[in-house]
């Protein structure tokens, strides 16, 4: 019997010791594609870092970040949860037809903050005194509610749209919820594995915004192997890749991001995990795009990342486009609008992030 006890003890010790042995012996990974964040690498041991507890925190993160085959464990974890009947994992609904949709329940819309943002935007619009349009983008799960798991809920996009619209009578509000709900019967308007809209979704928004818009080129396939952010939350091995299409644009375009010239399409994203980064290569505080046409019109866009795949169309209708991402932009938007003789202002923002955004306060600077 003693042999049996020893066998169990040995097995137990092996299971708990081997992973840590691999962590300390192996080479550190520095970045996790799936989580889009830096991983903790081996921390330095100093007296001060022990005393203030930072060493303890770092080595704790180190072991869990560098755990051998970490993504495989996470995938297994998702499988266990799926088997146990979970219909949302890591904040993403497991929808039908391979849709992984951000779970944004009605209570996740911060009404107090929403009202504050409405006030901030109204003041900003009044101060600028130019034609303003707001594109409130409904999240995937609202438009694609037929793909949600049974009894699952999302925030009420129509209600939220009407609340914001009726509070800002001077601003025009193209109804994207209606437009996308209509368009989805024709083609896929959102990625299945990412929270953004597809080429067709963005194009639908463009046509709703500018029914007579001048952009008319056909899309080109950029990648057929996109597994985006909502997939990453679940790491469900059953996921099917999305296609990413891009819109051909004039080669006279000049794009500057935070003072540096960049291409409109970052083709290197094909080799990266986040293929949506093909659009401008990511988010910047201030991006300017000029030379798409010759009409002298200037458009200011206050935006989140949904705008990145919409803006290529707009280059056919505005010679100068300035995009501000308030998460990273530190200057005064009002001053900028006055200095650059902005003709029109466009807000592009997913509805719940508009409601919960804490950066709108910068519009008052």
């Amino acid at each position: 019997m003693k042999k049996f006890h020893i066998a169990l003890i040995a097995l137990f010790l092996a299971v708990i010791i081997l992973p840590a042995a691999f962590v300390f012996a192996g080479e550190d990974r520095t970045f996790s594609d799936n989580e889009n964040r830096m991983l903790q690498t081996a921390p330095k041991l100093t007296f001060d870092s022990i005393l203030d507890g930072s060493f303890q925190n770092k080595i704790t993160d180190y072991i869990s970040d560098q755990f051998p085959a970490r993504d495989t464990w996470t995938q297994l974890g998702s499988q266990v949860k799926k088997l146990a009947g979970f219909k949302d994992i890591g904040g993403a609904y497991l929808g039908s037809d391979g849709y992984y949709m951000e779970k944004i329940t009605p209570d996740k819309v911060d009404e107090t903050n929403l009202n504050r943002n409405i006030g901030l935007v109204s003041d900003f619009v009044q101060a600028c005194g130019v034609k303003t349009t707001m594109l409130l983008v409904p999240a995937t799960g609202t438009v694609m509610s037929d793909k949600l798991p049974a009894h699952a809920r999302m925030y009420d996009a129509e209600k939220l749209y009407n609340t914001v619209k009726s509070a800002m009578p001077d601003v025009s509000f193209p109804d994207l919820y209606a437009a996308l709900s209509e368009a989805k019967t024709q083609q896929q308007v959102y990625y299945r594995t990412d929270h953004h809209w597809t080429w067709y979704g963005a194009h639908t928004a463009y046509k709703t915004l500018l029914p007579d818009g001048k952009y008319d080129a056909s899309p080109e396939l950029f990648s057929d192997s996109f597994l985006g952010t909502t997939y990453s939350k679940t790491l469900d091995p059953a996921a099917k890749c999305d296609d990413v299409y891009i819109s051909p644009v004039s080669d006279k375009l000049k794009v500057t991001a935070d003072g540096k010239e960049i291409p409109l399409y970052d083709m290197s994203a094909a080799g990266e995990k986040d293929k949506y980064k093909v659009f401008l290569g990511g988010n910047y505080g201030e991006t300017t795009i000029t030379g798409g046409c010759n009409n002298g019109k200037t458009l200011l866009i206050i935006k989140d990342s949904f705008a990145n795949s919409l803006v290529p169309f707009l280059t056919a209708d505005y010679e100068n486009i300035i995009m501000l991402d308030l998460r990273y932009y530190m200057g005064s938007a009002q001053q900028l609008a006055a200095e650059r003789n902005v003709d029109e202002i466009l807000f592009v923002c997913e509805m719940s992030s508009f409601a919960n955004d804490k950066n709108m306060v910068k519009l008052g600077f």
């Binding site: 019997m1 003693k2 049996f4 006890h5 020893i6 066998a7 169990l8 003890i9 097995l11 137990f12 010790l13 299971v15 708990i16 010791i17 992973p19 840590a20 962590v23 799936n34 989580e35 889009n36 964040r37 022990i50 005393l51 507890g53 080595i59 704790t60 072991i63 869990s64 755990f67 970490r70 464990w73 996470t74 995938q75 297994l76 974890g77 998702s78 266990v80 009947g85 219909k87 949302d88 890591g90 904040g91 951000e102 329940t105 009605p106 209570d107 798991p149 049974a150 009894h151 699952a152 809920r153 952010t229 990453s232 939350k233 988010n283 990342s305 949904f306 998460r327 997913e350 992030s353």
Partner: protein
């Protein structure tokens, strides 16, 4: 450090086990004392000195009382002093801000909060230390002259943070001399793995359900409110009993036999029964060191009622510096007293099924009180449970359906059924086959726990949202 973390499981525990068994027998208590201080200092580098102070105080008072054993008066004075210091430290570090808040509220005063962070485990180790000094006074235990052994008893990392509350009397012999057989060790492993599974697979998942529902602020459908309350009922049991299992299992690996802390409390047939099965070491402590010294039930019904009131207010308050805990204690005082008066006899005549329903309903409502750290949510939440916001609505059906499997597993796992099933299966096998079966189950449970432990540390950067 918490047991359910990779740093504990994969680094600390293997190193400590290795060190302990390399160490000659004489040095093992010192080794355990040092690694326990490291364990404690891991998250609380400063409060380790508070614990060391507490150890010294109780050690010295123990020695002094022993020295003055002939002088009853002096002994009593020494005991009172040590208890005042112990409870004084506990009050200062645990209850100061609560007292200030309430003084401000009652007298309209405006004292600043001190924002003292609660030293982890202080409620547990203070009670352990007091069990020693009080028992020295009563001459129920031998005085401990070895400071290392005494310090090790207080700091012992397996039960330092969340119990069980091991009375000095329970382990005084093991402190001086203990041995571990391979059978003890493998039994310890199994017990530890069961606790880890309870914590990671059940408590954490149920906790997520409860915190989502509680965050809605109390105005939810009856179905949602009950789902949340039941989820919390399971969370607290599997969390707490899982931790006790891990502590008992770890203790076994080092040759200790800690007292049991839970005996299937959700199988109770009355609230009196429940409190014989829930957090047994705490109830025992209050009974031994407060209820009985107050006179217990030997001084008439009125005095018994008063004694119970004192014990249950303090039991509630011990759990945390908040009115919800006091209310929870008083809630049990009322029920227990009514049961003592007549209800227990009446219940005995009912079929067992109804007695289970009765006890569980009261337990679940009790947990809602306990969990409502924001007391303003408590009444709306209880109202919701009884239909103030309609029977169904919102995400309730979704929550219930997607967590149904887990809830059923929790129901089964909180009863004796799994153990009985295993024993009846093992009964048909020889000893080796039964042990092999159990080992395979345990390693599978360990693997599953590690999958969720690592999978849930998965922590996507929010920046990705845009």
């Amino acid at each position: 450090m918490v047991f359910s973390s990779t740093i504990f499981l994969c680094v600390y525990l293997p190193l400590v086990l290795l060190g302990y068994y390399i160490c000659p027998k004489k040095g093992r208590n010192l080794f355990l004392l040092i690694v326990s201080l490291v364990f404690y200092a891991w998250g609380e580098p400063k409060y380790v000195f508070l614990m060391i102070f507490s150890i010294l105080v109780n050690y010295i008072f123990g020695r002094l009382m022993d020295k003055h054993r002939e002088n009853k008066k002096r002994m009593k004075l020494l005991l009172v002093l040590s208890v005042v210091i112990d409870l004084g430290l506990l009050s200062v570090f645990k209850y100061t801000d609560f007292i200030i808040t309430n003084v401000n509220a009652i007298f309209g005063a405006n004292f600043d909060l001190l924002n003292i962070a609660l030293p982890i485990g202080i409620s547990f180790y203070t009670f352990q230390a007091m069990s020693y000094t009080i028992d020295v006074y009563r001459d129920d235990v031998r005085v401990q002259k070895n400071l290392i052994d005494f310090g090790m008893y207080i700091t012992m990392f397996p039960q330092l943070i969340a119990g069980p509350i091991v009375r000095y009397a329970d382990v005084q012999d093991q402190l001086a001399d203990r041995s571990v057989t391979t059978a003890d060790f493998s039994e310890g492993i199994m017990r530890f793995v069961v606790g880890l599974g309870k914590k990671v697979l059940l408590a954490n998942q149920m906790g997520a359900v409860w915190s989502d529902i509680y965050a809605l602020g109390g105005d939810v459908s009856a179905l949602m409110a009950w789902t949340g309350a039941i989820a919390y009922t399971f969370q607290i049991y599997f969390d707490f009993s899982g931790y006790s299992d891990m502590a008992i299992g770890l203790g076994r690996m080092f040759g200790f036999k800690f007292p049991e802390n839970f005996r299937y409390p959700y199988q109770s047939v009355s609230i009196t029964d429940f409190w014989r099965r829930w957090h047994i070491t705490l109830s025992t402590w209050f009974k031994e060191y407060l209820y009985i010294p107050l006179g217990g039930n030997r001084r008439g019904l009125a005095r018994q009622a008063l004694n119970l009131l004192i014990v249950w207010s303090l039991t509630g308050f011990w759990h945390g510096a908040g009115w919800n805990f006091v209310m929870w204690g008083l809630y049990y005082f009322v029920i227990l007293f009514i049961e003592k008066l007549f209800l227990l006899k009446a219940l005995d005549k009912l079929p067992k099924f109804f007695r289970h329903v009765y006890a569980l309903l009261l337990i679940i409502i009790g947990w809602v009180i306990f969990a409502s750290d924001d007391v303003s949510v408590l009444l709306p939440y209880l109202g919701s449970m009884f239909g103030a916001n309609g029977a169904i609505g919102g995400m309730d059906v979704y929550t219930l359906l997607t967590k149904a499997v887990l809830l059923i597993i929790c129901c089964i796992a909180s009863t004796e059924l799994p153990k009985k099933l295993f024993l009846s299966a093992a009964g048909a096998m020889n000893e080796k086959a039964a042990f092999t079966l159990k080992s395979v189950l345990m390693i599978a449970l360990l693997a599953l726990s590690m999958i969720l432990l690592i999978g849930d540390s998965y922590n996507p950067f929010l920046y990705f949202r845009f």
